[in-house]
Subunit: 530 residues, 2 copies
């Protein structure tokens, strides 16, 4: 009720005077219009926003009870004007203006692709995803959902994969409070009418994530209607398209939204690859802000080369155990690769949920060395919390890896803005960084007692000195090496230091080398054939 | 001279009576036409061939001295008629007919893609590439070229990668006898006129390979004009297109031709990806037989998802050392993957030519387990043969791997016609085969003293028996295990045998399991999530 009142106030202000909204926050226009017929299908509404230089046209949507809304995320600070267009008189040619104020600290804008393989916010701040997955966390009722948010607040995770539509698993314990379409479960749906209450609730959760600095990787379709009774994944293209339009109109103004077309797309056997490409291109066309777009696989990998795909959202546990494997996907598609599913921490009877905390941590470090990113989740029943598991319902984290992923996140945040790129994947890739400036060396399970520093020559200068730190990825310690390393060229390909670094001789050890002297100017390169 | 006389005889016969040519061999029409002006540019010539059911239109080409030819590879046995079309009176509306006779043993037709990831000849015979590379073997003069053919005759290799245009490396020792364009080296070329003598010589070599049952992976462009003086790789699109048309017109009727657009395409900095896609689609359109098309990379992998690419021609030594790496490219593109360059056997100072024979053998076995194929070459100077190296000039093989690749080829030839596919790449891929029927288990460097037989469940039946053989990939021995294995289900994912197989405890050991009982009917599968 309070929310509705505030929205009314907003409308009143809009017609009276300019409102201020922060750049990259949501500016919302509320309009009264027809409630008869089927507004979801019959009424078209859009608005054109302009700051005199840039013009952005966005679709509005029907929010029930004769209320229509248009949402806009101002991409720049300054004065914006708007005018609506509709095929209904009460909704067309409405006008207003407002001021977008400069973003406050913590508001960096939406995330996009940077440096081919990495991510950054619109304001230039690098974004290094350390994601997690809780499929149905936002469909489980207030108590559990608030607990999940509380857990996230002290977790390392800055991206959440979540299903927009409910899944049937666990529904017996936590039936969804709201449903996306008008009608009643299990299958008496009117697919021509959305249920605005459902979407408002999801928006609330997405906005809360946004305010915590967490990206919402919104999964639009999934195969987890296990009893095949709801039918959300078996609709014809017309219904799917209308759903996509409605979702984009409602959510695109949230700066933290990413579009994940599907989870395990290949397990949704009612859609073809052509259907997915159609949907991806539709969303690409509808979304005026170009939020990130991906499609997540089960066993069969989608053609990640398609141009509507901004980054690779990969399920591949086997590839994520070794940088030498993981790096090949990056090479194959030349896009950022996020191993959103690299198996889960847990002791489930299914082999996709049997990672130890150490194995999960190792996988994250492995994909990091591959110049890619990892995604966490866990399948460990929380006995004190009705047996919930984080992967399905959120709630509380029980695993050993999150603390280590928080530690890794600190390492990532201290890396160069350009990201960590593989250094020399010719034989055995175990070093990432930026040539001549910053190196992260990861020994994985090898547990050496010492390492004779050897780096691929690109960017290095004869005599260049580096600070070295020994990192224990499990114990979460960083121990400086007393003496700086000094590098000299050796042979055709390498630079070496004269003395070895003593290491603890246990698994999960890494080294960080930071240049104390400027790198070589023009990168020295061997011949074409390497 | 004899060849010219025979061609004349052919022409006379054509106009007089039907000639017989074997299905999938080259049927050639020779016509006299204008020699003035520039026939390469001015004259268009094509012919339509029909057997009453199928119609194939092919381009003709100018072969110098007022002689024009049209070549046709009859795709079916039976009576074919033809009629020419040209923008010159003497060449148009010529007609003839001939009989295509059934193919003789050894003639299986052209190779195409089969079972998504594998290859087969047009007559249904499986084709398992065991390729090698001799870039300039056909530009080195009769003595060396004949020696190379003699070497190939007793080698395991059934595919040869070769540069159609000469490379400058080694030219001081073996200058090309002929040049592709009219003019004189190094750069006085008339790019509007081809040199037919050059192309006739290459055709002769391609035909000799064909007659030996060897596929010719013809590389159309390369970056090896080291001194950048000839300029064959710096021509505008118009010249490249004319070259492509001329090459297709001359070579497409040879059933053993594959089109490799480039070697190390990314080192040819004068062309864009768009140029390559244009060229690939042009060849796809021009070639009426659909010969295999690929593009080979240096450091940067081309977008192998493009639809004109029939199979992946990969340079990637690192990926080829482990089936768990190699299989990822197959998964990425769902096309056959041939690791045409997985580094070379040799002891060169460049690290791309430092594989031992054992390492080369291991790489071939690794990519085999990945359901992919390998490509051999060696960089070992042949001191008794003017220091030639097989990679560059052909000549003689000096390495230790070819014998082992011949042994591997026997294993491949004994595998199911559907090819060897990875069996369960969920954790650690070391088994390939066809579920329930045939398994090839490769232990690589692990050197176990025994193996407890365990197979992923798909296709297996409770109580099913298998014959086992121990394969030493280096010693080239196959030792039968006396007792058959009998498999029973264990746990959620596997079938196991009750007793271990004793193994030699050295590297490079494989096992072959062949079903003695029929496999399970419908493949038993675990749930969606595996």
């Amino acid at each position: 009720m309070l929310k509705r009142m505030l929205a009314g106030l907003l409308l009143a202000l809009c017609s009276a005077a300019a409102l201020a909204v922060e750049q990259w926050d949501v500016y919302e226009v509320e309009l009264k219009g027809p409630a008869d017929g089927n507004p979801f299908v019959d009424v078209q509404l859009s608005a054109r926003f302009s700051d005199g230089t840039q013009t952005v046209t966005v679709d509005g949507f029907y929010d029930g009870d004769g209320v229509y809304r248009v949402r806009f995320m101002p991409p720049r600070a300054g004065r914006w004007t708007w005018v609506t267009h509709s095929n209904r008189w009460p909704l067309t040619n409405k006008q207003g203006e407002f001021t977008a104020t400069p973003p406050q600290p913590g508001n960096h804008g939406p995330v996009g692709v940077r440096h081919v393989y990495h991510f950054g916010y619109a304001d230039g701040t690098p974004y290094r995803p350390v994601g997690t997955t809780m499929y149905s966390w936002s469909h489980r009722g207030a108590a559990l959902e608030e607990l999940t948010l509380k857990t996230l607040a002290t977790s390392p995770f800055n991206k959440v994969r979540m299903l927009l539509l409910p899944q049937s698993h666990g529904v017996d314990k936590h039936p969804p409070e709201h449903w996306p379409y008008a009608g009643t479960p299990p299958k008496n749906w009117d697919f021509n009418r959305f249920n605005p209450v459902f979407f408002r609730h999801q928006e609330q959760r997405v906005a809360q994530l946004r305010n915590m600095g967490i990206e919402a990787d919104l999964i639009l379709h999934h195969p987890y209607d296990d009893k095949r009774e709801w039918g959300f994944d078996t609709q014809p293209r017309e219904v799917d398209d209308r759903y996509a339009r409605y979702v984009v109109a409602r959510f695109a103004a949230f700066r933290n939204v990413w579009w994940s077309l599907a989870n395990e797309f290949d397990f949704i056997r009612t859609k073809t690859d052509e259907d997915w490409a159609h949907l991806g291109r539709l969303i690409q066309r509808l979304d005026p802000y170009g939020h990130l777009r991906s499609i997540h696989n089960g066993k069969r990998i989608y053609n990640q080369a398609e141009d509507w795909i901004t980054h690779v959202s990969m399920q591949h546990g086997m590839a994520a155990t070794d940088a030498n494997r993981a790096v090949l996907f990056r090479e194959a598609w030349r896009k950022p690769v996020v191993f959103d599913e690299l198996k889960y921490e847990g002791a489930h009877d299914r082999r996709w949920a049997q990672l130890t905390g150490r194995q999960m941590t190792h996988a994250f470090w492995s994909v990091t060395i591959a110049g890619s990113y990892g995604g966490h989740s866990e399948f460990i029943a929380d006995a004190d919390n009705h047996g919930t598991v984080w992967l399905g319902q959120g709630g509380r984290l029980r695993g050993e890896s999150p603390a280590r992923l928080a530690f890794l996140k600190e390492i990532l945040d201290a890396a160069p803005a350009e990201g960590l790129d593989p250094i020399d994947a010719f034989d055995d890739l175990f070093i990432a960084g930026q040539p001549g400036r910053h190196y992260l060396v990861y020994f994985g399970d090898r547990a050496p007692a010492e390492w004779w520093p050897k780096l691929y020559l690109t960017g290095l200068r004869d005599g260049q000195r580096f600070k070295a730190e020994i990192i224990d990825t499990w114990a979460m310690t960083i121990t400086p090496v007393k003496e700086p390393l000094q590098f000299k060229p050796q042979g055709r390909y390498d630079f070496v230091a004269a003395t070895p670094i003593k290491l603890p001789g246990k698994p999960g050890i890494a080294l960080r080398l930071t240049a104390l002297d400027a790198p070589a100017g023009a990168a020295a390169r061997p011949g074409l054939d390497d």
